[in-house]
Amino acid sequence: MKTLDFAKIRSAKGRLRTFALSIAVLGAGTGTLLPSIRVVAAAEAAAPSKIGDLSSYRTIVVDTASMVNNGDLDGAKARIKDLEVSWDDAEPSLKPRSPAEWHAIDKAIDRALSDLRSGKPDATACKESLANLLKVMDGGGRS
């Protein structure tokens, strides 16, 4: 009885190993194929974000930028806080979808936040970092 069980286990293990190996081979195969497919897709489509719908965040950036353009730096500083809070709250959902893209956008947000929150905010610097942030959001993480 015991030996029979062992044989069963061993063959099960063998099957498992074959299964794992084929998964690995398949994975390696798609791994080499996928990048080229992705590049083509990125070139043709208008770079849809892998993170998902960014429109609510984009709206805040546009609002903030127009406030800066009108010289309302205090209003801009208050408005971009909405972005900081909503972006931070959604991190667990957004980040796993594309960590690289998430980090790129997060860095760009950090730069805009620190420009708007500096002791004496420089309107030109704020405009620049907000424009860069929009570019990063629209470009799927590339600036």
Partner: protein, 260 residues
């Protein structure tokens, strides 16, 4: 400094029960969302929040070290604060200093291993049933701090490298803990299985908190971070109050045996 055996007290840490694990997992979630709330919503920033939390942790550690026996609220408040600070250390390294998660995971793994080596070398036991001297208590809390830091780094690494969302995270980390529990009941080393489970409850707690707090369109239950934290905090408070009232039924009598 008295010699390790000079000042013995009753076991200062709780026995490992189902309630222990429930409070531990929930403290993890509250620790993370609480610190995040202060830093972002209240707008204190990561640095100020970090400084406040480190100061609170030091104060609470002094309270915990001075206690003459295990007191549930002192012990668990210390755990919540260690959870916050452990998470913040990893976040500061990753976001502030741009340290790669691979590096921080490796560094914390080494630090945790070193803690156990020195602990064993000095005490000849890693038993959590005999945290009855000051040095053992310090080793215990150092190990807990490093498991939280390592749990954060390794959990984030799993998210980043594998694109593991919180729904899959709950299943993966839950399954890993189930395997460890099975190994424990199957006779695997109690010290090893305890600390492995302790480590894994960090990412499990984070995923669980995310599952409750994230919006429905994103696959969560949509409770929001504040409601989730309040619910968890209420459950923790109720369980700690329960432990304070009926300590003996929960197997918290001090054990001075060396076995584990």
């Amino acid at each position: 400094m008295p010699s390790p055996n000079a000042a013995r007290f009753l076991n200062k840490v709780p026995e490992v029960t189902a309630v222990f694990w429930i409070i531990k997992i929930m403290s993890t979630t509250v620790g993370e969302t609480g610190a995040d709330y202060l830093a972002v919503h209240v707008g204190l920033g990561a640095a100020t929040t970090g400084a406040i939390m480190v100061a609170l942790l030091i104060a609470m550690l002094v309270v915990q070290l001075r206690a003459r026996k295990y007191v549930p609220w002192k012990y668990w408040l210390t755990v919540v604060l260690v959870s916050i600070v452990g998470t913040q250390i990893t976040d500061a390294l990753t976001d502030g200093l741009d340290v790669s998660l691979y590096v921080s995971t490796a560094v914390f793994a080494v630090a945790l291993a070193a803690t156990f080596v020195i602990w064993y070398w000095s005490e000849r036991t890693l038993s959590i049933h005999t945290i009855v001297t000051r040095p053992r208590e310090l080793f215990y809390w150092a190990a807990i701090l490093f498991t939280f830091a390592l749990g954060t780094a390794a959990g984030d690494l799993a998210t980043e490298a594998l694109g593991l969302g919180f729904r899959v995270g709950v299943l993966v980390f839950g399954a890993a803990i189930a395997v460890i529990a099975a190994a424990f009941y199957g006779g695997a080393d109690a010290v090893l299985t305890f600390w492995l489970a302790y480590l894994l409850t960090r990412p499990l707690g984070a995923s669980l908190g995310d599952l409750l707090s994230q919006s429905r369109p994103n696959g969560g239950l949509g409770l929001g971070t504040i409601d989730t934290s309040v619910i968890f905090l209420a459950v923790i408070a109720a369980l700690v109050a329960f432990l304070s009232v009926v300590p003996n039924r929960m197997g918290m009598q001090p054990k001075l045996t060396e076995e584990l």
